[in-house]
Structure formats: structure tokens, C-alpha cells
């Protein structure tokens, strides 16, 4: 069933679910919704499985309803009935980088390697979301909630765990990491770049070997401005990892809007 026609595709819009685990050793990362907990909240409100595919956008997305359905968006998280011809606009809330549109039954399409997630690093697009495209609605089985979804705090304190290379970054690294108000300078699905302080990179670590990476890893490039790896991160990387964001705070950190600040706290 065609649910929507895209009137304006907006910025960095894609279909996302929980991604495709199990292929990182072949060079393909997991991908998936940047703010998995926001997507989960909307799916849950509609009675969908939390893994149901949603539309993710950095804003400016305009859709026209083709078949009446129940939706939930980042701007209206309670189920809302939209009817044929009705226009829906999707934009992130203040302070957030990404907005979501979920539909009862989930968006559908032909999965690639088990997932509908578009992967910006691997150039995979399972569902066309360009202007003029039509979005299909599926019949996804209702799924029980799997866990509590933590509420979002206005003040962004992010729990991190020491990274595998923290000991080699020098004795002041941990202090700098945890005492700086890091400003989100840039946010993409690949990662977020932070400024506001500098983590010194010892010369012998500047040209490191390729090591496997994980979502939430806080990498230190030669500039000293850390990068928090996002859902579409490269599977391996050569910069040392000072810390890794705790699972419970990954969605909050990766979803932080450009210009917002993060303070890291070692768990």
C-alpha cells in the first residue's frame, strides 16, 4: 500500500531501521537510525515493533498522504490519523539533529542484507526517498517492548567508558576529556566532530595501524578535536580511541544538534 508521496525530500533523509549487524568483518558497518531510542519511542506509540523502519531526516521533509494511516513524528509523538491529501512536515525538535516519522505497520521495501537502512558510508539505498518518490507501508507484526527507553535530559551529560588507547594518550587526556564542554561542530550519520578543547595526540600515535571501530568510539585525530563515531562509521580506523560512549547514551550523543554542548563523565 502506498502511504505517502514525497513533496520535498529535505536534508539527509533516509529510511532507517536497526541496521544490519554481522557484516563488519567484510567492511560493511551496521548503520541504523542515528537516534535509535527516538525511533523506538515513536514505533512503540504506534504499537509497532521497535525495529520497524522509519523515515529519518535532518529537516525540511514534506510528504503528502496517499492512503490514510496512523503516524507519529518527532514533532507529535502521540498517534495521529492523517488522511488522503493531507501534508505532513517533519523537522527536528530544538537541540536535536534528527527527526523521525513512524507509521503504523512500518515503512516497507525490499531489504538489502536483511535491513532497509540506507548506509551513507557504503552507498546502500534500499528505499528511494527523493522528491516525487512514493513510500510503501508494510504490515509489521506488533512487537512487545524490549526495554525501558530512557528519557532525554535537557542538559547533555554523556557517560563514557575508557577507550582501549586512553593509557597511551598521556596523563592529562582523561582530565581534558571530562572537564571540557565539547561543542558539536558537525553532525552526520558517519559521526560528530567536537570542538571547544584539544586532546593532545602523541606523535607516535598519529599514524596508527587500522583497528576495528565501534559506534560511540571517541577518536582523536591529529587536530585534537575528537570525533564520536556514528551509526555509519567506517568499520576500521587509524586514530586512537580515548573513550567509548556508554550504550545508554549513544542515541542522545549522536542525536545532539550542531552547536549544542556535551560533557563526558566516566562511568
Amino acid at each position: 500500500m502506498i502511504g505517502f508521496r514525497i513533496v520535498d525530500c529535505g536534508i539527509a533523509t533516509s529510511i532507517q531501521d536497526q541496521g544490519r549487524p554481522g557484516y563488519a568483518h567484510l567492511g560493511l558497518g551496521r548503520s541504523g537510525a542515528v537516534d535509535l531510542s527516538a525511533a523506538g519511542v515513536l514505533n512503540r506509540a504506534l504499537g509497532n515493533s521497535e525495529a520497524a523502519p522509519v523515515v529519518e531526516t535532518a529537516g525540511g521533509l514534506v510528504l503528502e498522504c496517499v492512503s490514510r494511516c496512523l503516524i507519529a513524528t518527532s514533532n507529535w509523538t502521540s498517534p495521529l490519523l492523517v488522511v488522503e491529501g493531507e501534508v505532513v512536515r517533519v523537522n527536528p525538535e530544538a537541540g536535536r539533529q534528527w527527526a523521525y516519522l513512524a507509521v503504523s505497520g512500518g515503512f516497507s521495501g525490499a531489504p538489502i542484507l536483511g535491513s532497509l537502512s540506507a548506509d551513507s558510508m557504503a552507498d546502500l539505498i534500499a528505499v528511494d526517498v527523493s522528491t516525487g518518490a512514493e513510500l510503501q507501508i508494510g504490515r509489521l507484526a506488533v512487537g512487545p517492548p524490549t526495554d525501558l527507553i530512557p528519557s532525554r535530559q535537557a542538559h547533555m551529560e554523556i557517560s563514557v567508558l575508557p577507550g582501549p588507547h586512553l593509557d597511551r594518550l598521556g596523563s592529562s587526556a582523561l582530565l581534558t576529556l571530562t572537564s571540557t564542554d565539547w561543542v558539536v561542530e558537525n553532525n552526520s550519520r558517519v559521526g560528530i566532530r567536537l570542538t571547544g578543547g584539544v586532546l593532545e595526540l602523541p606523535e607516535e600515535l598519529a599514524n596508527g595501524q587500522s583497528e576495528p571501530m565501534i559506534v560511540g568510539a571517541v577518536q582523536v585525530p591529529p587536530s585534537g578535536h575528537p570525533i564520536v563515531l556514528g551509526r555509519d562509521h567506517p568499520v576500521t580506523g587509524g586514530y586512537p580511541v580515548a573513550a567509548v560512549v556508554d550504550d545508554s547514551d549513544i542515541s542522545a550523543a549522536l542525536g545532539a544538534a550542531v552547536g549544542s554542548t556535551l560533557r563526558f563523565r566516566v562511568r
Binding site: 568483518h25 567484510l26 595501524q209 568499520v235 576500521t236
Partner: protein, 210 residues
């Protein structure tokens, strides 16, 4: 930090593990661990001399640690390495950088080709792009740093070398490696299972197509 059979195991994130394997064959160990299909272990990712085991919960992490000892026992690892036929990749030596490589290595183009053909490669790990395997085992006389200025677009199927590795570009992408030739082989296809032609640990040989 935990020490298992001389290997340093440190946490990476909430439940995952980062292993410093040094002299152990990372790809082989990763394949052995992946083959166990441990509940809650979603990805086992080898790199040059380290490895990531992505665990979804605490008990998965515990079972990884419990199983590592057995996997790391030398006999077990060595056993897995034999009896695998190398994958043969047919190629044409028509690369744009053949002359540059020959000059930089102080040998003729034919000798570059000969040394590349007689190198016995093993896929050490994948990265950079889906299906891009870093093939170790390149003849040491062909080890060169990457190009100073990367190309903005390298065609799919380009067979290349850089540092101690050879690789085939699965898809068109920017790239800084030296191009020796081309192959028609499909390195990455999401319709296949597995989607990558070369998995970590796979032995590879290049064959000259006339």
C-alpha cells in the same frame, strides 16, 4: 584488563571487547570465534593486529572470554589455516601506475608483474569500503608508500598495491593506492551470501589473463 594466553583483552564500550593479538593471525581467530555463533555476539571484526568482538550484553561478553582460551590454543588455530584452496583472481596488468611502481622499486615492469603474481596473499582484514580486503603477503620489494595525492575516482575492479598490501577496489571510490591492473571479478554483491568475494583469512592468488 584481562590476559588470555598472553593476549591483552580490554573493554571497548559497554559490553564489547578489544583484543591486542600481536603475533596471532587475527583473521583466523576472528573466523573461529564467529563460527561459534555465540548468543549476543553480533560482529567479530579483525584488523591489522587487533580485533573487536561486539557484544550486545554482559553474558555474551562472559561467554566470549570463556571461549577464547580454547580458540587461542595453537594447534586449533594452525589446523584451521591449512586445507583451504587459494581463491584465484584473473587480472590484466594494464594499470596506470605500473611504470611509476617499476621506477620506484628499481625494476622492470615485467618484474613488478612477476613479483605480484608470485606473491601468496592472505586477506588480513576488510575495511575502507564494503568488500575491500587488505591482502597481506605482498613481495617486500614492492612495498611503497601510498600516492602523495589520492585519485578522486578509482574504477571498480582496480588491482592495486600500497605499503605491505595488495587490494581490489570493489566499487568506484577515491583511492591512494598504486594501480597495477584490472579484474572482471565481482568483489561485492549484496545479493550474494556472503556479499564479499574475499573474507578475512581467505588465501588469494592473482592469475594473469592473456
Amino acid at each position: 584488563m584481562i590476559d588470555i594466553a598472553g593476549i591483552e583483552v580490554v573493554p571497548m564500550g559497554t559490553h564489547s571487547l578489544h583484543l591486542r593479538l600481536d603475533d596471532f593471525p587475527t583473521a583466523t581467530i576472528a573466523a573461529a570465534l564467529r563460527a561459534l555463533n555465540l548468543e549476543g555476539v553480533s560482529d567479530v571484526v579483525p584488523a591489522e593486529s587487533t580485533m573487536l568482538v561486539r557484544c550486545e550484553h554482559k553474558s555474551a561478553r562472559r561467554s566470549v572470554v570463556e571461549n577464547l582460551n580454547e580458540i587461542l590454543s595453537v594447534g586449533n588455530v594452525a589446523e584451521r589455516e591449512v586445507n583451504v584452496e587459494p581463491l584465484e583472481i584473473e587480472m590484466v596488468y594494464d594499470g596506470q601506475d605500473l611504470e611509476i611502481v617499476a621506477t620506484a622499486c628499481g625494476m622492470s615492469v615485467e618484474e613488478v608483474i612477476h613479483r605480484h603474481l608470485s606473491s601468496e596473499f592472505v586477506a588480513a582484514f576488510c575495511g575502507f569500503a564494503p568488500g575491500f580486503a587488505y591482502l597481506s603477503g605482498l613481495d617486500p620489494l614492492l612495498h611503497l608508500p601510498r600516492r602523495e595525492t589520492p585519485r578522486t575516482r578509482v574504477p571498480a575492479g582496480s588491482v592495486s598495491i600500497a605499503a605491505m598490501y595488495s587490494a581490489v577496489y570493489p566499487n568506484p571510490s577515491p583511492g591512494g593506492w598504486h594501480l597495477l591492473g584490472t579484474t572482471d571479478a565481482t568483489l561485492w554483491n549484496v545479493e550474494s551470501d556472503p556479499p564479499a568475494l574475499i573474507e578475512p583469512g581467505r588465501r588469494v592468488r592473482f592469475v594473469r589473463k592473456s
